[in-house]
């Protein structure tokens, strides 16, 4: 059990031409004891590098890694008391499952063979792989290998678990099963865990908190719901949530926002009136990005308010429980935005529809920096916050 702190962690790689590539820049996260932190971001955002620095597989260019207030950046990987689960599972193919799971205990502890045997058997039972202990990895299915890789980490009872996209090699059904199981395991073991994924669903569902990275920079560290409802910037807003948040480039003109795609107000397709509070939140920004989640776009019968817009249904994606409806402001435009409506509601392609964009649900981001100027009002979000 330990608290893991990353202080201004930076990693600079030097390429063959002597050029410098900043993979991770000033990342600071404080992971309290027992927390499940998910590092999420698109590929190449530096999340794996960050994890490898914590493991000691990459050197730290600057900044520090602390485990229970002890700086560990100079320690060798084997002296950090950290276990890692790799994407490829990295099992030793010539050893049986039992040997695979015993390896770490044999190498890093002085435990007698008998005790190692017991620990491995116990862990095997906990993971439901007790009957596989004498088999070789090549005789196991993907899901079983995954369990062995987990077991190998768990049996060592480390201070911290690191997981590098451990579920990405599994098929969709198995993945969602393992997701739940991993969460349950982590809760039972109560071991500090850093989990890397590019899959925002995994991040949302598994993490106590999620840390969103982009281009090596930390965008936001928050609980999944905070990140969803109160994104710190446009990147987080677009990355978290499926389907993604709708974005419109707007120009501020008095108490209304004029749609100006590519900065060209004459190409705009609608004008959005804003309240005084929203106008204050915008401050001096001239260009803003307006964001609204697909589930907040309502399709109503007729245009009754100033925030109702006539649109045409372009494409309908039935998901069963809900429909993703792609709308356009005019039939000749190829710009679409998404609304999510109930699965039982009949929506036909090519038909006109009225979209209501409620101001309470609107996010505004600065057009230049992407920083959030105003997030959706939180009344509804607070109600859904789980009581822990």
């Amino acid at each position: 059990m330990a608290r893991l702190q990353l202080d201004d962690l930076t990693k600079v790689f030097t390429d063959d031409d002597g050029g410098e590539i900043v993979a991770v820049e000033d990342v600071s996260v404080d992971v309290p004891d027992g927390e499940f932190l998910v590092l999420v971001g698109p590929s190449g955002c530096g999340k794996s590098t960050t994890l490898r620095m914590i493991a000691g597989l990459e050197t730290v260019t600057s900044g520090h890694i602390r485990l229970d207030d002890r700086v560990i950046d100079e320690r060798k990987p084997q002296d950090r008391d950290i276990a890692m689960v790799f994407q490829s599972y990295a099992l030793y193919p010539h050893m049986t499952v039992r040997e695979n799971m015993s390896f770490g205990l044999e190498e890093s502890t002085d435990l007698p063979d008998e005790e190692i045997r017991e620990l491995v058997t116990e862990t095997g039972e906990m993971l439901g792989i007790a009957e596989l202990l004498e088999r070789k990895p090549s005789e196991l299915s993907g899901g079983q290998r995954q369990r062995v890789a987990l077991g190998r980490a768990i049996v060592r009872d480390p201070e911290v678990f690191l997981m590098d996209e451990p579920l990405s090699n599994l098929d969709a059904k198995l993945r969602s099963e393992m997701r739940t199981e991993l969460q349950r395991l982590q809760e039972d073991l109560d071991t500090t865990t850093v989990y890397v994924t590019h899959d925002q669903t995994e991040a949302m569902t598994m993490g106590d908190r999620i840390a969103i990275l982009n281009d090596g920079k930390l965008q936001q560290v928050a609980t999944p719901l905070e990140a969803y409802h109160q994104p710190a910037n446009r990147f987080v807003a677009g990355f978290i949530g499926e389907p993604s948040m709708n974005f419109f480039e707007m120009e501020v003109q008095g108490d209304q926002l004029v749609h100006s795609p590519g900065g060209d107000a004459s190409a705009g397709e609608f004008t959005y009136p804003i309240s005084t509070d929203t106008r204050e939140a915008i401050g001096d920004s001239v260009r803003v990005t307006m964001g609204i989640r697909p589930e907040d776009v309502e399709i109503v019968g007729a245009a009754e308010q100033s925030r109702d817009f006539d649109t045409t249904v372009d494409v309908v994606e039935p998901m069963g429980d809900e429909n993703n409806v792609y709308l356009t402001f005019s039939t000749d435009s190829d710009r679409t935005f998404v609304a999510t409506v109930g699965g039982m509601r009949r929506v036909q392609e090519g038909q006109p529809a009225v979209a209501r964009l409620p101001e309470a649900a609107v996010h505004l981001f600065d057009g230049e920096s992407g920083e959030a100027l105003k997030n959706r009002s939180l009344e509804t979000a607070e109600m859904t916050e789980p009581e822990v």
């Binding site: 597989l57 084997q78 030793y92 010539h94 190998r152």
Partner: protein, 297 residues
């Protein structure tokens, strides 16, 4: 496809391309097998039969096993001597090659590329170029002058065996290293990182993971190196020199086998060649399965 169709339809393949191909293959087969067949046939002939019958045709009246008896008798000590250095030199060069490849491929340190280039360069050193420095080096080292030989009551000519072990090990390391390196490059890096995280030192990771997984490559390298070292005449000639030496390797004795002032006994020479080739054949059979696996990877 048309070839297949015509075969099925007529039952006989008259495609001129195929006829030509099989003809050429047959000729090549004869070309390569004829000398071996001649060798086998000759090795069973008496000297009289050799001079009176065609080399390709077996002779029933002139059949003898005496050539093999003589060859074994004359080559036996040479074969023992050859094994004395070929086995240790093969094992040592394979082991050192594996160590070096591990250090150059699966661990990370500065200056790796430079050292690797030295190994690669080592492959291209022509043996002829090192003969003089090599003899000079060993004469300065003076292994044969050590007191240990007389203490143990062994002919000091056996210093030549030690010299051959050292030489063959040294010259075998570069090629073994490159062979192992190509194998290790395909090995999962995550697996070794995992071993490091689990507390294994670089040495322990080699012993418990890399070495056991190298078996197929060891088979390839052992077969290759053993054949090379066993068949080598150049170093044997330079370091042991005389066929009459107590430490003379099999190749050295074979070179003079069946040659006398009264003429060459071809039957004996052929029998000797086959006897001398037996150990390399045995190695192929022993490691054949692993060899195939290692070549395939």
């Amino acid at each position: 496809m048309s070839t297949l169709d015509s075969t099925e339809a007529e039952g006989v393949d008259v495609n001129p391309y195929r006829v030509g191909l099989y003809l050429a293959l047959g000729v090549l087969l004869l070309f390569f097998l004829a000398p071996i067949e001649t060798g086998i046939v000759t090795s069973f002939k008496t000297p009289d039969a050799v001079s009176t019958t065609s080399p390709l045709v077996p002779s029933i009246q002139g059949f003898t096993l005496q050539n093999y008896a003589n060859a074994v008798q004359q080559l036996a000590r040479g074969m023992v001597n050859s094994l004395l250095y070929a086995v240790p030199a093969t094992i040592l060069s394979a082991l050192f090659g594996s160590f070096a490849a591990y250090g150059l491929t699966l661990t990370d340190w500065r200056g790796q590329v430079g050292v690797l280039l030295l190994f690669v360069a080592g492959i291209f050193i022509p043996y002829q170029a090192v003969l003089v420095p090599l003899t000079q080096f060993f004469s300065i080292l003076g292994l044969s002058k050590l007191a240990i030989w007389s203490l143990l009551g062994i002919d000091n000519a056996y210093a030549g065996i030690v010299e051959l072990i050292i030489t063959h090990t040294a010259y075998g390391i570069p090629i073994c290293t490159i062979l192992f390196r190509s194998y290790y490059k395909g090995m999962s890096e995550e697996m070794l990182e995992s071993a490091r995280l689990e507390g294994a030192t670089v040495r322990r990771a080699y012993r418990r993971i890399v070495f056991p997984l190298s078996t197929p490559m060891f088979a390839v390298v052992l077969i290759y190196q053993f054949t090379q070292i066993w068949n080598d005449l150049l170093f044997a000639l330079v370091l042991v020199q005389a066929e009459s030496s107590a430490a003379a390797p099999v190749t050295l004795i074979l070179a003079g086998l069946g040659a006398s002032q009264s003429g060459t006994i071809f039957g004996l020479r052929m029998a000797g060649a086959f006897v001398a080739a037996l150990p390399t054949l045995a190695v192929y059979i022993l490691f054949g399965e692993e060899f195939a696996e290692g070549v395939a990877t």
